[in-house]
Symmetry: C2
């Protein structure tokens, strides 16, 4: 057992838990319960703005995005915010403060096909609700709410178009990229009524000093820990690769076991080696998600197996070490079995740490609600990963019941939204930029 | 080490090897070398009778089958045999003997798509060459050569149509079965110029007392043992089943290892359990040839895996025991990992032992060539399996270089054909029916 102020190290991606809580704050807004209900109602309303009636699908700059912008823009307008849509289609609302510095609160408004009602959207809606909870009061810093136009990468196969434009890391070559219907990014922007030549106008203002993203966890960690919120320390780095085991296809009836070079048996051994490596490396996740055995016939020994490997960790070194071990176990297994092995790295993305001071303030804000604040990593990518390259960034995770996301059953608990609003209000007031 | 007359037990399907040889026979025909060359030339010529120019494909009663019948029929006619085609399209040539009993020598004339030039055909051609080697001499028994019209099951998805008709086990309901072009078995028979109403005329004559099939091994056992020929003791029994592992699909980045129910990891563990079970059971082969992981996406944990299992052994009891162990390991692995497991038996076919006296004569015939005779099982099905239900049957396997079959690279060594002809000649003369 640790002392009250010590973090308890958790198993996943270096998550840690303070076993005690910071003194509860006394200024939790009385209207938070009502506000949390409004957040859920708003998310539910926005879920009806979809490309495919009956399920939630809102890809980059699709028609229903206009309706989402009108809905949220109107609300922000009522709160005295100045609202506009930048050249990449990000919805932006500015709530002016007394001082020169600016905090951005944002997340994304696009969804995956058959998505849920909260992934992304809830971070924008909670941001607006936090402004509303200020009841007209102006803080030292300006607060800008952003609803990113694109995070999932569904329409053009490239994620983070909105946040890249804002961070100034949007590659203009992407403008020529086509979707499945043959429409280019530039044309999609034009069809939405915007000017692709002016992408630069999406860049964040020079006075921006911090970025905060509130997002559902999309995993089971908070739920398993019985916690409403988590403070994200880092967004995990990822290595993705394709692998091939090349053996010898043969008749399943006439080839004795001793003479086989079965690519599927080799791949099976490797899949278990991957799992073992992940289990023995604290915080690591490693997944073989795709497998294809050829010829793939019941009475024929597999001559070739293609598979994928996805390895993530909040710290680069253990991820790189584990990936190297996974690759060398592939070579070792193949060699021992008389097969050949090949691997092809398709993505090698470093972990992105969040800003330590902002994370500390998030921890304090969560503790102020009476919840033990857990430090955790995000295993999935988020806009905060892109913004962090440009501005100090932090994230708050909200518990995902059942760990379910990217699915119509995705949900959020009312009391967790309430806790998030309480923590967010604390954060806004305690933040000094 | 064993004494000279003791069989050496080999590892595959109960194969055994006599380490010494029986006294070599002195009556090996001088013309055997020329005859072996003629066999290979004939197989090469027949390979040009194909449905798909450039590759070998001759399915049940396809047009080029007529040319094969003309080619082999003409040869048999020159040897003084009476030649006819029965109602299922089997080519039959009868070489009358002095006594009342009949030996059938046969194999199949159809091929798989992209097949080789020797699978099946060579058994028929060697049979005719054996008659030729008699140089007109009549033996006590009649010899009937059969070229079965259908063994592979390619055209109608059901194998052994030719030998079933001959054994009297042809199910007349099969006549209505359609090929991909919508042609029924009955129509295919009619188009070939035969009468499907008279299938019974294909049944073997009442005087038939033995069946001998010479076939390429289609596996690596003889080659690994440096032997030309093998005496088949039994055709292995088979169990085939489909299995399902049902877990939980989840995000590969946000789901810690401890909370996963990864169906692919469970299947991988089971594939290795299958391999282990086969390796520890002498003579058993077990194969997982087909696997499908869902959703099959690189960054998503597999929620479901479908796979197949194919288990074979020359003796039923060890096959049944191994299959039961394989199934229970599936349940055990799934249970331990929090998944469910399901299996669905699709084929459960008993082993077919060859006739002990005929096998003993085959062993003696091989030994007479100076080759150590190896007793082995066939892991693949053959017409002999069907005929054995009706008449004492035996098979001789001829070495398959590289174990390659069902492929254009399928080949046979000239000296092995020579040895087969020598052994076959001995068999014909020593056989008493």
């Amino acid at each position: 057992m640790t002392s009250a102020s010590e973090p308890i190290r958790c198993l996943f991606l270096g998550a840690s838990l303070y076993s005690g809580s910071v003194e509860s704050s006394s200024h939790i807004a009385k209207s938070v319960h009502r506000s949390a209900k409004a957040v859920l109602t708003c998310c539910e309303e926005l879920s009806h703005y979809t490309e495919t009636p009956g399920s939630i699908q809102r890809t980059f700059l699709s028609e229903p995005t206009h309706e989402v912008h009108r809905h949220l823009g109107a609300w922000m307008g009522r709160l005295g915010m100045s609202v506009w849509v930048d050249a990449i289609g990000n919805l932006r609302g500015v709530y002016a403060g007394a001082g020169a510095k600016r905090l951005i609160i944002g997340s994304h408004l696009d969804t995956v096909p058959n998505g849920g009602a909260y992934d992304g959207v809830i971070g924008v809606v909670i941001g607006i609700a936090l402004i509303e909870l200020l009841g007209g009061e102006r803080l030292a810093h300006t607060i800008e709410i952003i609803g990113f136009s694109e995070e999932e990468g569904v329409r053009f196969g490239v994620p983070f178009l909105g946040s890249r434009a804002m961070a100034g890391t949007f590659d203009r070559a992407l403008l020529d990229r086509l979707d499945r219907a043959g429409v280019s990014v530039a044309d999609a922007i034009r069809s939405f009524g915007l000017d692709p030549a002016r992408i630069e106008n999406a860049e964040l203002d020079a006075d921006t000093a911090a970025y905060l993203e509130i997002h559902i966890e999309q995993g089971p960690v908070l739920e398993k820990a019985c916690l409403a919120l988590g403070a994200v320390e880092a967004i995990a780095g990822q290595t993705r690769a394709g692998v091939t085991f090349l053996g010898k296809s043969n008749h399943a009836g006439t080839t004795p076991m001793a003479f086989r070079r079965d690519a599927l048996c080799a791949a099976a051994e490797w899949i278990l080696a991957v799992e073992r490596e992940a289990r023995r490396t604290p915080g690591l996740v490693a997944t073989v998600g795709k497998i294809e055995a050829s010829p793939g016939v019941a009475n024929v020994i597999s001559g070739e197996v293609l598979a994928t490997i996805d390895v993530r960790h909040s710290v680069d070194q253990p991820r790189e070490r584990a990936f190297a071990a996974i690759v060398s176990s592939g070579y070792e297994i193949a060699h021992r079995r008389g097969l050949s092995f090949h691997h092809d790295v398709r993505l090698n993305q470093a972990a992105v740490p969040m800003n330590a001071e902002l994370v500390a303030l998030v921890v304090e804000s969560i503790a102020a609600t009476g919840e033990p604040p857990m430090l955790m990593a995000s295993g999935a990518g988020h806009d905060a990963m892109i913004l962090a390259a440009r501005v100090p960034s932090a994230m708050i995770f909200v518990r995902s019941p059942g760990g379910i996301s990217h699915h119509r059953d995705e949900t959020v608990l009312l009391e967790d939204v309430q806790t998030a609003l309480t923590a967010g209000s604390y954060f806004l007031r305690k933040l000094t930029l």
